[in-house]
């Protein structure tokens, strides 16, 4: 068997694997487009006869999704901004020095990464009630997500900073730059890509966050899409095409971002997550 035939066969098999693995996504979009009777047909139809494109604007209106998506966006942007501002400096210091204190700091950060959100929520709820932050529920969720996800950001961005050669920074110092100046004008620009990738990953996570929002936000008009989707799915629901339409509208921006930036996201993730 020649090299090209072998490569082609492998590619076909890989496409097949991808098709099987990504089938749930396909099913989500297809179900959204089906009519009510087609949805419950046996055997199930794998291609909608009469695609109902109008379901997307209909569900968008019906469920008030603009508000849900807006709240998700506010929460995601707020958390990313807070994490990026605080986390970048921390990862820089953790990458630049080697001593016992850095090891302790790193260990502490890793430990805080592992606490499950569903277990930390009660004390955070109490803390926010006592300090009055709970009166601003979206801010409360932003703070909680920032505390939860910052360690992950630090771990990823630290790997980026470690790949920026220290010599460049030293050269800038010799040329009369201050530490802050060298950090701002030399190190940060070189690490920009890694920081962006980590920020995008955090954004995606925060955009889908559920447990903090569910527990801290009572007002429906302040809830994000994840809580809205959860409320939509009752125990005996049969509106699956509408639920899948909701899910599609919610998840498509994330999927689009991911597919566009796939290569960078994967390389950014692999450079840091196991270290």
């Amino acid at each position: 068997m020649s090299e090209t035939t072998k490569n082609r066969l492998l590619l076909v098999f890989a496409l097949l694997l991808a098709a099987v693995y990504l089938f749930p996504l396909y099913w989500m979009y297809i179900t959204a487009l089906k009519t009510g009777s087609e949805m419950f047909a046996t055997p199930p139809s794998f291609w909608p006869d009469d695609p109902q494109w109008s379901i997307f604007p209909f569900v968008f209106q019906l469920k008030g999704m603009s508000q849900f998506l807006w709240n998700s966006t506010v929460i995601a942007f707020g958390s990313v901004a807070l994490i990026a501002v605080l986390g970048t400096g921390a990862s820089y210091v953790l990458a630049r020095y080697r001593n016992v204190w850095i090891d302790v700091g790193l260990f502490l950060v890793l430990m805080l990464q592992v606490l499950p959100a569903s277990l930390m929520i009660t004390p955070i709820f109490v803390l926010f009630t006592l300090t009055g932050i709970l009166d601003f529920p979206r801010t409360a969720v932003i703070l909680a997500i920032a505390a939860k996800s910052m360690p992950f950001f630090i771990v990823l961005v630290r790997a980026t900073f470690m790949s920026v050669p220290m010599e460049l920074e030293e050269a800038a110092l010799v040329d009369g730059n201050s530490r802050a100046g060298a950090f701002w004008s030399i190190v940060l620009p070189l690490a920009r890509n890694g920081i962006l990738v980590a920020a995008i990953l955090i954004f995606m996570q925060a955009f889908g966050e559920f447990v903090y929002s569910k527990s801290l936000i009572q007002e429906i008009e302040l809830q994000p899409s994840s809580v809205g989707l959860n409320a939509f799915m009752g125990p005996n629901t049969n509106e699956w095409n509408r639920i899948m339409a909701f899910a599609s509208i919610y998840v498509t921006p994330i999927l689009a971002t991911f597919v566009l930036l796939q290569r960078r996201i994967v390389s950014g993730l692999t450079s840091g997550a196991l270290k």
């Binding site: 700091g105 569903s118 277990l119 910052m150 989707l229 899948m244 196991l274």
Partner: protein
Amino acid sequence: MRRLYSSLVDGRGFDLCLIGIPLAFLIVLSGVPLVYNVVMSFQAVDMFSLGSFIRPWVGFDNYRQLIAQPEFWPIMGHTATFLAASIAGQFLLGFALALFFWLNFPGASWLRGLFLVSWVMPGLVVGAVWNWLLSGDFGVFNFVLHQLHIISGNVFWRSDPAFALWSVIIANIWLGTSFNMIMLSVGLSSIPADLYEAAELDGAGALTRFWTITLPMMRSSIGALISLGLIFTLQQFDLFAAITAGGPNNSSNVAQYWAWDLSFKQYDFAKGAAISVIMIVVVMLASVYYVRSTRHEVRG
């Protein structure tokens, strides 16, 4: 004042400021709640005393009552099953896929990356989609199994107590397989190719090469990945909320969902805190192992 400013721009103060503020933030919003959780698990707490720090001290009473509850051991068992099955499934499927994509045909790395969409999707959406796929009467999962002659009648994945936990496990394996695959691919690509060439010259078959080169060379990344899987799996909450909500009759309930349910649905904060403390101890042990597996890198 000037000295302070110059230290902030050009000296020790610069580093201390960069690391100090985030650490203070993390300690206030993660460390303090953690300690508070432990303290609360030894106190009598109700709706009215939730906001005060001074509460009657009850020692291990919360823990004793918790363990005495009939659902305690079943739920712990479900947690263990959920952990073991999820990690095994994600790891084995991820490893198989990583080995396949390692063959490095044109398009391999792009396709491999595409798999990661399962990992970046919101947990609630993954839960909703699997909820529909696994539906008993009209779920396509049952249809496919039926066509493959694996089952004869419909399985009611979410409402049958024997399968409810497995419906969440299946969804969780789907969610995490791609992450395992990507991470294992990194480990595979760091093995020097000449090792394989030398082994092949010595007449080692593919299986021997896998056992004697691939597995030992990847030991530290496998260790890190499995402890990371343990941590992620113990954090999984969204799928339970979206697929079974712990039911029917606690048959798919696990510790992390139970803790939230006790606190926010039944307002039994002390028991919720007690179960949190038990789980946090487990997670901490896993993360010590994780840090140890990556120790060589941490020391640099």
